[in-house]
């Protein structure tokens, strides 16, 4: 279950990781092989706002045809990274690259192949959806009308209404349409599903899959793991401006501390389970055994079955728990602190 090799070694501690190119080596080689540049690359990208750190030594690539999710609590540096990629922010040091070109030195035409959805979306309120999209299309010097109509239909968005009359969800839909309408090769999306109802979210995810299937790349941010877990090929976790981990969703999950509740027909002794690899803690309360597990559960399940287990309930790890596992190696005392930070 653990995808070995994605991460060089077990737990990674914040701060050091910025310079370590996790999984990057593999990707780089593959790209050298077929001679193409990664769609997106950050090379030790650093942004300081005075004394505050936006991002610190971020190194990350998004391959052509890949969806990478940028996860982290508020203030982790996700938006800073994405805005730097679009050239809105100049890096303090390091570089951000699109298709191999430095975004600060390349001309504005570099952004022609990028669709961007800002985290705090503000649109011209006095325009109708159609006029707004037409304005952007003209500035892109690209005829996007047909594509915009298709997207609006799929997202069930009325383009004849004024932006200031739109609900938050509908405004977000308009934001999605303007990001996709020129059929960009690269999508940079900051919390794209915020405000979208579940039905529209599903359609949006479908759009992303189609985009990937057509060879497009995506870098999207979120603070909810569940939002990106079934979409992203890889997940990058940011905290305090540093890259904590870059791995597949499965690998991330398996690294997190999960809580298992096992129900036996007879009172059970927790000691029978504490020696199993991966079991961090086990407490018994009459027939119920509660275990905290990292990694594979095979041995735990095998032994429970021997003891006649009736049911197993598993709590899927949340992003917070994934963080915990990464930062503290599952130290439960740190959990409360972490939750407070995340709250």
């Amino acid at each position: 279950m653990v995808a070995d090799g994605m991460l060089g070694n077990g737990h990674v501690v914040g701060g050091q990781l910025g310079n370590r190119q996790l999984g990057d080596g593999q990707l780089g080689n593959r790209q050298l092989g077929d001679g193409s540049e990664p769609a997106i690359a950050f090379e030790s990208a650093t942004k300081h706002y005075g004394r505050q750190v936006g991002i610190d030594g971020l190194t990350l690539t998004v391959a052509v045809g890949e969806i990478v999710g940028l996860l982290g609590p508020n203030g982790a540096g996700k938006t800073t990274a994405l805005r730097m990629l679009l050239g809105l922010l100049h890096p303090t040091s390091g570089r951000a690259l699109i298709e191999g070109e430095d975004v600060t030195t390349a001309g504005p035409r570099l952004r022609a192949c990028v669709g961007y959805l800002p985290g705090t979306l503000e649109l011209y309120g006095n325009l109708t959806g159609r006029r707004l999209l037409d304005y952007f299309a003209r500035l892109r010097r690209q005829d996007c009308g047909a594509q915009a109509r298709i997207l609006a239909d799929r997202l069930d968005l009325d383009l004849s209404r004024h932006v200031h009359d739109l609900s938050r969800g509908n405004k977000q839909k308009l934001g999605v349409v303007q990001a996709f309408m020129h059929q960009p090769r690269i999508l940079v999306l900051d919390e794209p599903t915020s405000g979208l109802d579940p039905l529209v979210q599903r359609e949006f995810e479908e759009l992303l899959r189609e985009h990937r299937a057509a060879g497009g790349s995506v870098l999207l941010s979120s603070h909810v793991l569940s939002e990106v877990e079934h979409l992203a090929d890889r997940v990058a976790i940011l905290e305090g401006g540093c890259l904590l981990a870059l791995q597949t969703v499965d690998a991330l999950r398996s690294r997190a501390l999960r809580s298992l509740e096992l129900d036996f027909p007879q009172p059970i002794d927790a000691k029978a389970f504490t020696d199993i690899p991966g079991v961090m803690s086990a407490t018994a309360n009459a027939n119920i055994l509660t275990c905290e597990v990292i990694g594979e559960e095979t041995e735990l399940i095998r032994r429970s079955v021997e003891l006649g287990v009736r049911s197993i309930r598993s709590h899927e790890p949340t992003l917070e728990e994934a963080f915990l596992a990464l930062v503290n190696g599952g130290d439960p005392n740190a959990a409360h602190h972490r939750e407070q930070v995340l709250a």
């Binding site: 050239g87 809105l88 922010l89 504005p108 952004r111 961007y116 800002p118 952007f136 892109r140 010097r141």
Partner: protein, 265 residues
């Protein structure tokens, strides 16, 4: 593409443009309508003005009040009209990019495949056009009034005076552009522009009375515009060139400043 952005600015602000235009026309019309009674009482009016304390006459540059050009100069082109052009220019300059940064639309505008310089240039084109249109509207109004009231002022002089005033507005739009580009704050840009304008006006007004200030007059933009007394003396190419060059330099500076800056979110 420049025109697409400029066109958007005009459409977004057509009500304000119309209001300023009507304001200018209205003020001109009111002042023109009073002129016949001034002329009819020219002799007593001249006596009355002669009783004004000398500093006041010097400060407001009142001479020859009852003649057509003299009247228009005092009532319109020495303060009211320049102030309106400054207000228009400074507000267009201040909101050129800072307004979009403040309301958050800059995040999308500046991630389109167009340079920040192009966006600024388009907004400058829009500002210049608005000032020219307002100057032409004023010229037209005055030309009609002058004709009707037989004020003996050539239309070309009216045009010269209007455009010379508009150029002062252009200069202060440049101040708005550059402060807006440096700070990203519309309020700051507008405040600084108006503040500088009022200070410059004060220095210009007091210059004839205070010897030290007189030496600084050649550096004062009000001297280049109001001081050229275009309605009586016509175009002053030297002064016009100074106004235009300073405006251009401020525009160029604002482009440099915005390119170096992070866009506020």
């Amino acid at each position: 593409m420049l025109l697409t952005i400029a066109n958007r600015s005009w459409r977004d602000h057509w009500k304000a443009i119309l209001a300023w235009g009507l304001g200018l026309i209205g003020i001109a019309a009111v002042q023109l309508s009073v002129y016949p009674s001034v002329r009819d009482t020219a002799t007593s009016m001249d006596q009355f003005i002669n009783q004004f304390p000398e500093p006041l006459k010097v400060m407001f540059r009142i001479s020859d009040y009852t003649s057509g050009p003299g009247y228009l100069s005092v009532e319109l082109f020495s303060l009211m009209v320049p102030l309106i052009f400054i207000a228009v220019g400074a507000s267009w300059g201040a909101s050129a990019t800072a307004a979009e940064e403040e309301n958050g639309t800059a995040d999308l505008l500046f991630t389109l495949p167009i340079s920040r310089a192009s966006v600024l240039t388009a907004r400058m084109v829009a500002t210049v056009a608005v000032l020219i249109v307002l100057a032409l509207a004023l010229t037209a109004t005055l030309a009609i009034g002058v004709q009707l009231l037989d004020m003996q002022v050539a239309t070309e002089r009216l045009l010269a005076a209007s455009l010379t005033s508009a150029l002062l507005g252009l200069l202060f739009s440049g101040v708005g552009f550059i402060i807006g580009a440096v700070t990203g704050k519309k309020g700051a840009a507008l405040g600084v522009s108006i503040g500088i304008a009022l200070t410059a006006y004060l220095l210009f007004s007091l210059a004839p009375l205070v010897s030290g200030l007189e030496d600084a007059l050649p550096l004062n933009p009000f001297q280049w515009s109001v001081g050229s007394n275009a309605i009586s003396e016509g175009w002053n190419p030297g002064y016009l060139l100074r106004l235009a060059l300073v405006a251009l330099a401020l525009y160029a500076g604002s482009i440099l400043a915005l390119q170096r800056r992070d866009i506020t979110s």
